[in-house]
């Protein structure tokens, strides 16, 4: 990876890492023996390890002159490895916390391993670690291929990738030490949040500059979604995380938002993290890897436009459906509910567009487990967006809110949609990137598919049952007009479902492990394919396209 950089670029990489290491040193000095100090040391170690890599290749020969005539795939390869590593970590933590709900002694009586501290390591691990790395890696691939131009930076893609993973590492290790804002899906503290802004701005600039180099007059639909993902997540992240630290020596901060306003900002963030991180970004993936794998063009350009702008506009109104019947003013709840229902139109337009694209390629869905990953992901996308609109309706929410039904819904989306589309995309991408004829073993892709599908189904059915049972028990009255069940009765009724859910999670984790092995063996041992002649940037450098 260092060999592909010129010596000037190697120097700037070293300088950037030095600055990061100095920031780590400052944190270590200020934070002393507190968690901020520990994180300072972690930052120094992270930067130091990368400096060692840069110096190891510092005097390697300069890259050849023809570098601009090739796509920049090294960061994508590393990004895929990181994606799979975070998948295993995040899914394992999920399995562990799920098991703790059934068998609480699995917390082993230590501070760091209680449910409350481990749970955000699971959510951050899968959403930001697994999902985020998958989005960064595939966006680098998709933007180059659809723009037919090389990435507009040599060091910045690495900065984005490693900087982002440093954020994830700070977040996850912080939770274990009790460093958290307790804002759901935005738990990381102020210094990690500031660092993410730096990384994210770099990502945005890199993406825009690459688009500006494009040799195609039009920006392909997948890029619309990646752009919306990068942009809106930046806005959400900044607004929700505005806080003032107790002091520069403290990891702890207090958010500027309080009470009901904090609740609204938090769920505006929380729901749109689902919309723009877990939906928009992955729709970008769908719009590229589905037509590639199915060898069919996207069914309808107009549906793509409709669903893109519908999602971008409607989603931002929907967050308040997380706050039905609370102290949030009624009119905001009603707006949230209304837009959540309308959201079904663009959501199903996307899902329909994906499934109709498969017309004429259904025999491939039958034979090719990779395409089946993508297809089933689109089906789950359609199902969970329907379920989401349904649960946003106030009386339905009265039953579902605070119960496992919500957890089941989230996992239908996160496992069924996000994870399956990611695995399908990765199985398409890996042979292409490493120039192999195919994945090492089609049978193992098939095995992964069935493990994953069985895992999701077991999980989601368990949580539907537990959630609805729980919600009904809370509101059941006796004939005398008193509550029929104590809270404890409803908890006792959950145990069988919690065990079933942990089993579903285990199946899903096993599938991911099979995937890791298969990817590893593809890189190591699958037969080599000659690079496709067309898989190179359009020559002519960064010359302007008509109309730009």
């Amino acid at each position: 990876m260092v060999a592909a950089l010129t010596s000037a670029e190697r120097q700037s990489a070293a300088v950037i890492l030095l600055v990061v290491a100095l920031a780590g040193l400052a944190m270590a000095i200020l934070g002393g023996t507190g968690p901020l100090g520990v994180h300072g040391v972690l930052v120094m170690l992270f930067a130091g390890a990368l400096v060692a890599v840069v110096f190891a290749g510092f005097y390697a020969p300069e890259p050849t002159e023809d570098r601009p005539t090739r796509y920049y795939d090294d960061p994508i390869k590393v990004g895929i490895a990181l994606t799979m590593a975070w998948a295993v970590f995040g899914l394992f933590m999920g399995l562990w916390v799920a098991a703790q709900l059934a068998w609480p002694s699995l917390a082993f009586d230590a501070a760091w391993s209680g449910f409350g501290r481990l749970r955000p390591t699971h959510t951050t691990g899968v959403i930001f670690g697994f999902g985020g790395n998958a989005l960064i890696a595939t966006s680098f691939h998709v933007v180059q291929r659809t723009a037919r131009a090389r990435l507009a930076g040599q060091v910045s893609p690495w900065f984005v990738l490693f900087g982002y993973n440093l954020f994830c590492l700070l977040a996850v290790s912080g939770y274990l030490m009790g460093v958290t804002q307790s804002k759901e899906y935005a738990e990381a503290e102020w210094y990690a949040d500031i660092w993410l802004v730096v990384v994210w701005v770099t990502y945005f600039v890199l993406y825009l500059r690459t688009l500006a180099r494009r040799r195609e007059p039009h920006i392909y639909v997948a890029n619309w979604y990646y752009l919306a993902f990068i942009l809106v997540v930046a806005v959400l992240h900044v607004v929700n995380n505005i806080a003032i630290p107790v002091s520069l020596a403290h990891a702890k901060s207090y958010t500027v938002w309080a009470g009901v306003q904090d609740a609204m900002v938090q769920w505006w963030y929380g729901h749109n993290a689902v919309a723009f991180f877990l939906t928009a970004g992955f729709l970008g993936m769908l719009y590229y890897y589905l037509p590639i794998r199915a060898q069919r063009p996207i069914f309808s350009y107009r549906l793509s436009i409709l669903s893109f702008w519908g999602i971008t506009f409607f989603y931002m109104w929907a967050g308040s459906h997380h706050l039905h019947y609370t102290a949030l003013p009624h009119w905001v709840q009603t707006l949230g509910m209304t837009f959540s229902v309308m959201l079904l139109v663009p959501s199903w337009a996307s899902a329909g567009n994906a499934l109709l694209t498969l017309n004429g390629a259904w025999h491939r869905v039958r034979d090719d487990a990779t395409l089946r990953f993508i297809t089933v992901a689109a089906v789950f996308y359609g199902l969970s967006t329907f379920e989401g609109s349904f649960m946003a309706i106030r009386p339905v929410n009265a039953l579902s809110h605070y119960t496992d039904w919500t957890v089941g819904h989230v996992h239908a989306g996160a496992l069924g949609w996000v994870a399956l589309i990611t695995f399908g995309s990765i199985y398409t991408l890996v042979p292409a990137l490493w120039q192999r004829q195919r994945m090492y073993s089609a049978a193992l892709v098939e095995l992964h598919f069935w493990l994953a599908l069985a895992g999701v189904l077991v999980y989601v059915f368990a949580m539907w049952n537990s959630g609805i049972v729980q919600g009904l028990m809370w509101r059941t009255y006796t004939e005398e007009g008193t509550l029929a069940y104590s809270f404890l009765d409803s908890l006792v009724a959950m145990y069988p479902y919690y065990i079933a859910r942990a089993f579903g999670g285990l199946l899903f984790l096993l599938g991911a492990l099979v995937g890791c092995y298969n990817i590893w063996m593809t890189v190591r041992a699958a037969p080599h394919a000659a690079g496709r002649a067309a898989d190179a940037p359009q020559p002519g450098g960064a010359a302007a396209v008509a109309g730009e």
């Binding site: 449910f115 920006i219 809106v232 309080a258 609204m264 436009i305 119960t403 509550l483």
Partner: protein, 250 residues
């Protein structure tokens, strides 16, 4: 026509970026901005008192341990919730809460009005070993809280940060934060009197963890749990299920 326009938009990255920003900002602006200006968003509660330094420290432990992942602090306007947990929550009750801890999941029960429902002794025994008190519980044990001395030295900084954000802590409260935290959990010490003086006669001053000579994280967390729902009586005055607040158990 629309398609023609879109084909033009697709040709310019900056134009596309601006269009995304425009489309995505409307919802948030319409829903969030009025919450800061419309008077009815947060009710008036002149009797509302502030978290004492000890209670704030306890709240920060609740935040640190991620208790919100399993416990809500928001009683909805539904009959069964009001009957199970007490009057539905008002916005004013969390007006000083940074972050709010309304939660999104009840693996355990709602805690918005847990204050005064159980004795300190119950809370300590339950936090040390939940299954010793409730055999079917799946809550983690928080044994080490009773062994860990509370770090009070930084509390003035915490109160100052809160005041910068608009919480009306006085200069005297900030200066005495560490002493007040100590005093609230050591009723026989010289620091105990100042707490009620600064935070009101209703402030609960006692050895929450049963040990009156040392202030532990257990003291702080129990002090916080015992004040939940008791910062103001507004919910008992203004809601459908109005009535007298129940007598607290110590």
């Amino acid at each position: 026509m629309a398609e023609f326009f879109h084909r033009k938009l697709e040709r310019t990255a900056i134009g596309f970026v601006l269009a995304i920003i425009a489309a995505a900002s409307v919802g948030g602006i319409v829903e969030i901005a009025p919450l800061f200006t419309i008077d009815e968003t947060v009710e008036e509660a002149p009797d509302m008192r502030l978290y004492t330094p000890l209670e704030l420290a306890g709240r920060n432990i609740y935040v640190r341990e991620g208790c919100y992942a399993c416990h809500s602090q928001m009683i909805r306007t539904l009959r069964d919730e009001v009957e199970r947990y007490g009057p539905y929550s008002l916005a004013v009750e969390s007006q000083y809460d940074r972050p709010m801890l309304w939660g999104s999941k009840r693996t355990g029960p709602d805690l918005a009005r847990i204050g005064g429902k159980y004795s300190d002794f119950w809370h300590v025994a339950h936090l040390i070993d939940p299954r010793a008190v409730v055999p079917q519980s799946n809550m983690p044990a928080y044994r080490w809280l009773a062994r860990t001395t509370l770090d009070t030295a930084d509390l003035p900084l915490h109160l100052r940060a809160q005041r910068r954000l608009g919480v009306p802590y006085t200069e005297a409260m900030i200066e005495n934060a560490a002493r007040d935290a100590y005093g609230q959990a050591t009723p026989d010490s010289a620091f105990a009197d100042g707490v009620a003086e600064r935070y009101g006669a209703a402030t609960q001053v006692r050895a929450f963890d049963g040990v009156a000579t040392e202030v532990t994280e257990m003291d702080a967390l129990v002090a916080y749990l015992q004040v939940l729902g008791r910062l103001t009586d507004a919910a008992y005055r203004d809601t459908a299920a109005a009535g007298e607040p129940p007598e607290p158990v110590e």
